[in-house]
């Protein structure tokens, strides 16, 4: 890739981040991570308290891309067929016809995913991994780009069903939005005073442009030592004393792809160790299962990943012995 292409990539990323930033105030890093996930055709789990702007973020991203957007509100009585679609008997034509569910969209917001039953949660596995849906005997491919943005509330656990590990592993990144600062909250109030900026949000990138950008991300160069560095971090999670189940090879692959996308978003055609470090917590922490003793001691998987990152040597020139 040449410099002009890098600049063009940076331009696309800046356009999208800027456009979403008109609605979501001061959360550039979160928007950037959502974009990274989108470029890897991965899915994002947004975990934060209610009223932070999770749904607004998903909607703003979908509108900015000019893509189709559907929302699934997860409830305990939601059925798999409510998500995937059904075959119904059309009395006019006297034939069974397929009526697609809300999963047939480019951006799908699965709100409060942990309120759906495990049966319904599991129907998302095929959609998220293979980008297709099987109803009865028919397999239907999902549109491209396809991305699931799921949200869950980490505080309120009554009447919820924790996501199984297989489901969590399918999310490329888990991000938090966090409360805004005082200034940011003031800006939100003034922006939303008359009308929601989301209503007038225009599309800034066409889906084709996005797919082209995705192709370029795959061509971002990853030097051997940087790749080994990512592997070392992932493998360290498997031997850590506080972790019962470490990150899977899918996690390594996810970290690798996400680092390529992040480099492209930041206008580089090569990955640097900072990209790996930056993505280690969002890409790995949600896939780990901590030991009970560690949980009782108040150790979170995020803290463990941070600890691992602070001990794995970064591939730089040989350290001088005299120091």
């Amino acid at each position: 890739m040449n410099r002009a292409v890098n600049e063009a990539n940076r331009g696309i990323a800046d356009r999208l981040i800027g456009n979403v930033g008109k609605v979501i105030v001061g959360k550039k890093e979160t928007i950037e991570l959502v974009l990274v996930s989108l470029l890897c055709e991965g899915h994002v789990l947004i975990e934060d308290v209610p009223g932070i702007g999770k749904t607004m973020l998903a909607k703003a991203v979908a509108r900015s891309l000019g893509c189709s957007f559907k929302r699934i509100q997860s409830t305990p009585d939601l059925l798999p067929s409510d998500v995937t679609g059904i075959h119904y008997f059309n009395q006019k034509t006297s034939e069974f016809e397929f009526r697609p569910g809300p999963i047939m969209a480019n951006i799908v917001l699965v709100d409060e995913i942990n309120r759906a039953t495990p049966r319904t949660q599991s129907c998302l596995l095929e959609c998220m991994q293979e980008q297709q849906v099987t109803v009865d005997i028919q397999t239907v491919p999902l549109p491209r780009p396809f991305m699931v943005i799921a949200t869950q509330n980490p505080v309120e656990l009554e009447g919820t069903f924790p996501l199984p590990e297989a489901q969590l592993d399918r999310f490329l990144l888990r991000v938090g939005i966090g409360y805004p600062t005082e200034d940011e909250e003031g800006a939100i109030l003034s922006r939303f005073q008359h009308e929601s900026p989301l209503d007038n949000l225009a599309s800034v990138i066409e889906p084709e442009e996005l797919l082209e950008f995705e192709e370029l991300c795959r061509r971002v160069y990853v030097e051997d030592s940087v790749r080994n560095y990512a592997l070392a971090i992932t493998r360290a999670t498997r031997s850590h004393q506080d972790i019962q189940l470490g990150a899977s090879p899918r996690a390594s692959l996810g970290l690798h792809l996400a680092s390529q996308a992040l480099a492209a978003v930041r206008g580089r055609d090569y990955v640097i160790p900072d990209d790996i470090k930056y993505l280690a917590v969002p890409a790995l922490a949600h896939r780990l299962i901590c030991r009970t003793e560690a949980r009782l001691r108040g150790r979170s998987s995020e803290a463990i990943v941070r600890e691992i990152v602070s001990t794995v040597p970064v591939p730089v020139e040989e350290q001088p012995k005299s120091s």
Partner: protein, 467 residues
């Protein structure tokens, strides 16, 4: 001083340095081969002649082949002139006897190394060096490599002189003149780059300061030379011998304390060997003497060729290594760094080992090439120096710190150098992780930044921050 004059002085300094060791070698060969009949300064006159001639040819901008041909044609004429003047001065120019003598000496190189051949070779070498100098880009790096190479050659020449017991009366003068040229040239080259103290406050008095410095160095050399006399060295050697003798005596005494083995029965004498049968002589074809002579010449030429080729490869490797080192340290000042010598030595040994591995051609397919391009190696070398500099200042990089994190840490300590630190870090990241070749401008920018950063004393900065 104007730049034009500085350039002329630099060329003169290189010419002087090379002239000194050429003189030492030629004087040695003159004594050995020609019995001191040849005039070495006369041969050395070709050096400036070759330089001027090739500079003029350079100005003409002819095609390379034409330029080369004219230059070596000029050498042939100059060589013939030198042979005529030095060896056959009494013969008229029209007499072809001296030309035949030159031809005979070349043809009989296997049997005898004649003065004519020495003249031929020495004028060739001198002409080549003059031509090389005409095309050389003189700068600090070139001066330094000339000095290093010259010192080595001069030491070898003096060693050969002492071993062959050749009378070289003006050896001290040659050494002094060599150092005079070397020190002057290095100082001027350093000053030209505008990085030495001479380009600072003392710019107005630099020539005086330079002369005083060089005089002091030479005076010191003379003083040391007058103290360490042959008698003094003999005394030191005698003392060492006496100590060794004493140690041997002690060892002999200790050995005498050990019990000696009992002498056993001598073994019976061996029976006499039967006389061998006289070998049947069978000769299919006897090689004529002329063929034998031709083969001998061919064999000698081949051996000399192999020797010259190996010498050329060896010297070109040394030069490439020197150039590589100097390119990596362009604009850098030399200062003692802990562990640097060890690292260099290990690197050299590794390279030699890899070369030896490279000889196993049939097995090379399995080996992974680990060659790094010189520009990339320069950037990485500069970053290693930067790491050592920061570590020496008390701020080593933590093993889990990325170059960017390390940059932010150092930039917090040295806000005035933030721009330079950014250039170094950014360029290193691009080369190290992006595997992209730096442009000449980028290399220069990084080199300048590193030069400015290393001027800062990190320890002092820390002290001032604490205050």
């Amino acid at each position: 001083m104007k730049t034009g004059w500085q350039k002329i002085l630099l060329y003169a300094a290189i010419m002087g340095m090379e002239g000194c060791w050429l003189y030492a070698f030629m004087a040695l060969l003159n004594k050995q081969v020609a019995g001191g009949r040849l005039s070495v300064p006369g041969i050395l006159l070709l050096y400036p002649l070759a330089f001027v001639c090739n500079r003029l040819l350079q100005q003409l901008r002819w095609p390379k082949a034409g330029n080369w041909s004219v230059s070596w044609l000029a050498w042939a004429l100059a060589m013939l002139l030198v042979v005529k003047v030095q060896m056959f001065g009494d013969l008229p120019l029209t007499d072809t006897a001296w030309l035949l003598s030159l031809h005979r000496s070349i043809a009989g190189v296997i049997y005898n190394f004649k003065p004519e051949l020495l003249l031929l070779l020495s004028t060739g070498v001198v002409w080549w060096m003059g031509r090389r100098l005409a095309y050389l880009k003189v700068d600090f790096g070139a001066m330094l490599s000339e000095f290093q190479f010259g010192v080595s050659i001069l030491i070898i020449a003096f060693f050969a002189v002492s071993q062959l017991s050749v009378e070289l009366t003006n050896a001290v003068s040659v050494a002094l003149v060599f150092f005079l040229f070397a020190l002057s040239g290095i100082s001027i080259a350093h000053a030209m780059e505008g990085t030495s103290w001479l380009s600072g406050l003392y710019q107005g008095h630099w020539s005086g300061l330079l002369l005083v410095s060089i005089s002091l160095v030479l005076l010191l050399g003379l003083l040391i030379g007058s103290v360490i006399t042959p008698d003094f060295l003999q005394l030191v050697i005698a003392a060492v011998k006496w100590v060794l003798h004493l140690i041997l005596k002690v060892i002999a005494f200790l050995v005498s304390l050990l019990p000696r083995p009992e002498p056993g029965e001598p073994p019976p004498p061996m029976p006499a060997m039967p006389a061998p049968e006289p070998a049947e002589q069978f000769r299919l074809w006897r090689m004529p003497e002329s063929v034998r002579s031709a083969l001998r010449i061919g064999w000698t030429v081949m051996v000399i060729g192999i020797l010259l080729f190996s010498l050329w490869r060896l010297s070109s490797d040394i030069f490439r290594w020197l150039r590589h080192r100097l390119a990596g340290m362009a604009g850098a000042e030399f200062e003692p760094l802990p562990g640097a010598f060890k690292a260099d030595l290990l690197s050299l040994l590794k390279r030699m080992l890899s070369r030896l591995r490279g000889l196993r051609l049939p097995f090379r397919l399995g080996l992974k090439a680990d060659a790094v391009l010189p520009d990339i190696a320069s950037v990485r070398q500069m970053y290693r120096q930067f790491l050592r500099w920061a570590a020496a200042g008390g701020y080593p990089r933590h093993m889990s710190q990325t170059p960017n994190e390390y940059f932010h840490r150092l930039a917090g300590l040295l806000p005035e150098a933030e721009g330079d630190l950014d250039v170094i870090t950014r360029q290193y990241g691009k080369v190290r992780y992006g595997a992209s070749l730096p442009t000449e401008g980028e290399l220069h920018r990084m080199s300048r930044s590193w030069h400015r950063v290393r001027q800062i004393r990190l320890k002092k900065k820390e002290a001032s921050l604490n205050e």
